[in-house]
């Protein structure tokens, strides 16, 4: 049930609406890495990388890569005007001190309370948490972009995460190919639907109950 590039871009485009001029933003791998493609050209955003870059620019053209200018995933990037380098302790200082406005990341599961489980599959995959715990706990806004269900068709938005938590009650917003949810103190609130899906389809593919906004925004694909 993998998503086509168009669905991935639909999700990324919606996430881009959350970013405003002057923000410091940290992007995870996968769909989040598509978000910058959907920002207005003249918007000034400082993309942050945990290894120690503020002001990351797009990937360099082939042949122009610099092995000493890579993002946290180890892939070549560029530096925008106003960008800077720092050591990793300072890069995480920015996160813990609340200077990173938004982190946009993928997840394996998110619960109705906004618990995030995105780093471990017991007995299968134990890659280590990397910087995910700090980002989830300390970024000012945590947005999860993910497929609504996993490859086997199981809901990833659940009553309570069965996978070990990265961080409890940290997610602010979930964007999938079906819908957009806000995490509120009372649980999830569906605010937007992507065409051609309807509430029934979302309910069928979501394990937990959710509230529905009085005014649902319908987004064309």
């Amino acid at each position: 049930m993998g998503l086509g590039v168009d669905f991935r871009n639909t999700i990324a485009k919606r996430a881009a609406e959350e970013i405003h001029n002057g923000m410091v933003v940290n992007l995870g791998i996968g769909i989040p890495s598509l978000v910058p493609n959907h920002l207005p050209k003249n918007m000034m955003v400082m993309f942050h990388a945990e290894n120690g870059i503020t002001g990351m620019g797009p990937s360099p053209e082939k042949g122009m890569e610099d092995e000493n200018l890579c993002n946290a995933g180890g892939f070549p990037v560029t530096l925008n005007p106003g960008g800077s380098y720092c050591d990793s302790a300072v890069a995480f200082g920015m996160i813990r001190r609340g200077r990173v406005d938004i982190t946009i990341l993928g997840s394996l599961q998110v619960s109705a309370q906004g618990d995030l489980a995105n780093w471990i599959v017991p007995g299968k995959k134990v890659p280590g948490m990397g910087g995910a715990m700090e980002l989830a706990q300390k970024a000012r806004k945590v947005i999860v972009l993910m497929n609504h269900c996993d490859k086997a068709g199981n809901p990833k938005i659940v009553t309570s995460c069965t996978l070990p938590l990265t961080s409890a009650a940290c997610v602010d917003m979930i964007i999938t190919e079906l819908a957009v949810f806000k995490v509120t103190p009372d649980g999830l609130l569906l605010t937007e639907l992507f065409a051609p899906y309807d509430l029934q389809i979302v309910a069928n593919r979501t394990e937990c109950d959710f509230m529905v906004s009085d005014t649902i925004r319908k987004i064309a694909n």
Partner: protein, 230 residues
């Protein structure tokens, strides 16, 4: 090059500082900024049973990953091993002990070790058993924290762009990453550098690691691995 502090030396000479069962801290993030010549020297000398401390385990053929893939480490303290499947395999087979630490807290534990502090207080990962297990708590102003102990090592190895004969270091772009922290936390710190420049030729305002923390300087033969993106 004049060598008034006796710090500029050779790979052969610094390899005498490595021994089986040692603790070794390394700079680098996904292999970027990890000293290639020292890693190869450690491999060739046959050093084993190492406790490694650093951000991650690189890739199987990149950075510190080479030591891990060739089973030279008995323990790793890192935040991430996902880019090196051999590390995961060895861990599951019980042949490699892995202590995971959240990335920024690991950096800060290394920094604490490097600046002579015994521990830091952290609220990262408190509700995660893997992070909080066996760690003492501390109540400060009514809020609960984990005590995260500082990290030091017998030898720290770092990779820098330039050094002067005193060991003042500057790094190259994102290859700085954990290197300035690791440089401070070694009982002995060895800097592998791309270029050694005369005393007085580095702009004092631009030096990232003061030479006070650096004991030995060796010239690098450069990166000899193929990056994952190549």
């Amino acid at each position: 090059m004049e060598n008034p502090f006796g710090k500029i030396t050779t790979l052969e000479k610094v390899l005498e500082l490595f021994s089986n069962g040692m603790t070794l801290m390394f700079g680098g993030f996904g292999g970027v900024g990890t000293p290639p010549t020292l890693i190869d020297g450690i491999l060739e000398k046959g050093i084993r049973d190492i406790t490694l401390i650093g951000n991650d385990t690189g890739f199987p053929h990149i950075g510190i990953g080479k030591l891990v893939s060739q089973e030279r480490a008995v323990k790793v303290i890192a935040s991430h091993i996902g880019s090196n499947p051999i590390a995961g395999k060895l861990m599951h087979e019980g042949r490699l002990e892995v202590e995971f630490s959240p990335q920024g807290i690991l950096a800060e534990r290394i920094r604490a070790g490097g600046v002579g502090l015994p521990a830091i207080l952290s609220d990262i990962g408190m509700d995660n058993e893997l992070v909080s297990k066996n760690k003492p708590h501390f109540l400060l102003n009514g809020k609960d924290y984990l005590i995260e102990t500082a990290l030091t090592a017998e030898v720290s190895i770092v990779y820098a762009k330039k050094a002067d004969p005193y060991g003042n270091l500057i790094y190259d772009k994102s290859a700085r990453n954990t290197n300035p922290l690791v440089a401070m936390a070694g009982d002995i710190t060895i800097a592998e550098v791309e270029e050694i420049v005369p005393l007085g030729s580095l702009d004092p305002d631009e030096i990232i690691t003061p030479g006070v923390f650096v004991d030995h300087i060796i010239p690098s033969k450069g990166v000899n691995w193929k990056w994952a993106w190549e």
